[in-house]
């Protein structure tokens, strides 16, 4: 494997080389001396498949099994509820704002980190990964501290007579915490690094030669980006976006802290699931869950498809 140009110094985890790794052919059929005896292979297979079956497959099956326990009628009834619909709408809204924001950020961050050398670059790369190190509950809490009623900005956000602001601003009753903006902000925070951490190693690996060539041939900056850089990074970009989206739609802890749990107004799908579950409305809870589980499955399929196209093994993401 070629030594990379820049080793990423990150607090978290691009665990090994952040580069496309060629998948070596499976060596089960290698020489006899480097094979485990048959009983060991059987034992390993049993343990591995048993563990995957019990810990991964079973929960997935349970979601659909519980959702369909009382038949299709009860299943679809869960979505007839107006609160469920507004939860779905809010989840889609939050993701529709959070994902493009983090996409724009990811492109800007990877452009300046991968294409230029400047002081403090490794620190910047480290700070981008920071949200993965923060517990979801704390991610919500920090926004309460900034925008909450007792927070830094809280007192200025409500309607009232604030001397430093104009009349129009003082008449507005801006709600961030226990309202939709807080949910969007918390979602942006927890999905912050996804796109950037896919693009930075990818763009570093690709280097800048093609961009130089484009500039020499007379392209301007935007043309270079649109016609040279973007086509090169599109799969990495797509990869980052689907992971970002899955997390944005499924986030529970952070959103739970800032939402206020107002039914039909500030409940996202995961929060709606919690309410239904706590009301012992299990079929509806699992029905809404099954939508998110399907989203997860689609994410996995797309992810495997991209990996298969590029024959690479992904390093682990820290999503703590």
């Amino acid at each position: 494997m070629e030594p990379p140009l820049f080793r990423r110094l990150t607090v978290s985890a691009v665990t090994t080389a952040p580069f496309p790794v060629k998948r070596a052919p499976t060596r089960a059929a290698g020489p006899r001396v480097v094979r485990n005896p048959v009983w060991v292979r059987v034992l390993f297979m049993t343990l591995a498949l048993g563990f995957v079956g019990i810990f991964l497959v079973l929960p997935l099956v349970a979601v659909f099994g519980e959702a369909l326990r009382k038949g299709l009628g009860a299943y679809f009834k869960a979505f007839a509820d107006s609160d469920a619909r507004s939860a779905i709408r809010l989840t889609l809204t939050a993701a529709a704002i959070a994902v493009p924001s983090n996409l724009a950020f990811g492109i800007a961050a990877s452009w300046c980190i991968a294409k230029f050398n400047f002081r403090g670059k490794s620190l910047l790369t480290t700070l981008i990964d920071l949200p993965f190190a923060v517990s979801p509950v704390i991610s919500g809490l920090i926004y309460v501290l900034v925008f909450g009623a007792q927070g830094w900005l809280g007192p200025y956000l409500g309607a009232g007579d604030h001397p430093c602001f104009g009349e129009w601003f003082n008449q507005q009753d801006i709600k961030i915490i226990f309202a939709v903006p807080g949910i969007v902000l918390a979602t942006i925070f927890v999905t912050f690094p996804f796109v950037a951490r896919e693009l930075i190693p990818l763009m570093q690996a690709q280097g800048s030669d093609e961009e130089y060539a484009a500039l020499t041939l007379g392209a301007n900056g935007w043309q270079t980006f649109w016609h040279v850089t973007l086509p090169n990074i599109k799969w990495g970009l797509f990869y980052g976006v689907i992971l970002c989206n899955a997390r944005a739609m499924g986030e529970f802890g952070a959103v739970s802290v800032v939402s206020g749990h107002i039914r039909g107004e500030t409940n996202t799908m995961p929060l709606h699931i919690e309410i239904l579950y706590n009301e012992y409305n299990f079929v509806a809870a699992f029905a809404v869950s099954s939508l998110l589980a399907m989203l997860g499955l689609v994410t996995l399929v797309l992810k495997s498809f991209i990996e298969w196209r590029h024959q690479r093994v992904r390093p682990a993401n820290v999503t703590a």
Partner: protein
């Protein structure tokens, strides 16, 4: 490195992209995070200690760290086996199993939480068989070794008690170990094993003396990542934990409870303790990764 902030490069867009990156990072991440530290700066030392070291909070640290440690250890063991099987063996459905390993990243935590509860509750899919076995097993242990309070340590039931937390945290952590080990196992040269075999090592010796030392740094990294994730985990745990005060109450739940009582300072104090712990842990992971790279650099 260039002495000025502006690097010499013919590529355009440095100022724009760096400016946007720093502004966005500052507004979304750095300023809100600093709010937590500034909030506790206004607390007296006495209040801070009272908030972060009350018996109920200390019990939650012990539970969160202890169960996370146990789950990460189990993940390190089974993660190695899963990664080994995925890299070395061909079998029908290998690609599907490989893709499924990432399920805990893709499945929302709340969904995982209620699904695991449905499986392991007393009347659940697996719980109806396993729960009586567990209760009987813990009872036997208590009969043989009566001086340890087994029931409190291991839980009276599986769901709504400590074993449930362990199951949820194991679910959450598995991909970290597998995904860290997989590239290392793929890069492992067959010559190493062949050399060991020519020198007269049997397979057990090759596995324990040649392969395990080679993959150990990656295994430790995966373990640490799973551990770090488990400590902060909330969504999948709250449904299955039972949340009994000072017994099965994890630290993130303590923060939520304090927030619900409008004890913002107390919540922030506990949050800062957790933040510092996870920053330390990630610093350690960073060192581990450098170490494992030094080992894997050929």
């Amino acid at each position: 490195m260039a002495p000025t902030i502006r690097p010499r490069s013919v590529l355009p867009g440095f100022g724009l992209s760096l400016g946007f990156t720093l502004a966005y990072l500052g507004l979304i991440v750095l300023i809100p995070l600093s709010a937590a530290f500034l909030k506790i700066a206004g607390m007296s030392w006495h209040d801070f200690v009272a908030a972060v070291a009350s018996p109920r909070v200390v019990a939650s640290y012990r539970l969160s760290f202890g169960v996370s440690l146990a789950a990460a250890l189990v993940n390190a063991f089974f993660g190695f086996i899963v990664a080994w099987v995925l890299v070395r063996y061909t079998f029908p459905g290998r690609r599907i199993v490989d893709a499924l390993v990432d399920l805990p990243f893709a499945l929302p935590t709340a969904v995982a939480g209620i699904a695991l509860t449905a499986i392991y509750a007393k009347n659940g899919w697996v719980g109806q068989w396993l729960d009586p076995l567990w209760v009987r097993g813990v009872g036997r242990l208590a009969a043989f070794v009566p001086w340890i309070d087994w029931k409190s340590w291991l839980g009276g039931t599986i769901a709504f008690d400590r074993p449930g937390i362990f199951i949820a945290l194991t679910f959450i952590g598995l991909p970290f170990v597998v995904r860290t080990l997989q590239p290392v196992l793929i890069e492992l040269e067959p010559e190493l094993e062949e050399a060991a075999a020519t020198l007269g090592a049997n397979r057990w010796q090759t596995m324990t003396r040649v392969i395990l030392p080679e993959v150990f740094p990656a295994m430790l990294t995966g373990f640490a990542l799973a551990f770090a994730r488990a400590i902060g985990e909330y969504g999948s745990v709250v449904f299955i934990a039972g949340n009994q005060p000072a017994h099965s109450e994890i630290t993130p739940l303590i923060i939520i409870t304090k927030l619900e009582q409008y004890d913002y300072r107390g919540a922030t104090a506990v949050a800062v303790v957790m933040l510092v712990a996870s920053f330390f842990l990630l610093f350690a992971i960073n060192l581990l990764q450098k170490w494992s790279r030094r080992f894997s650099a050929v």
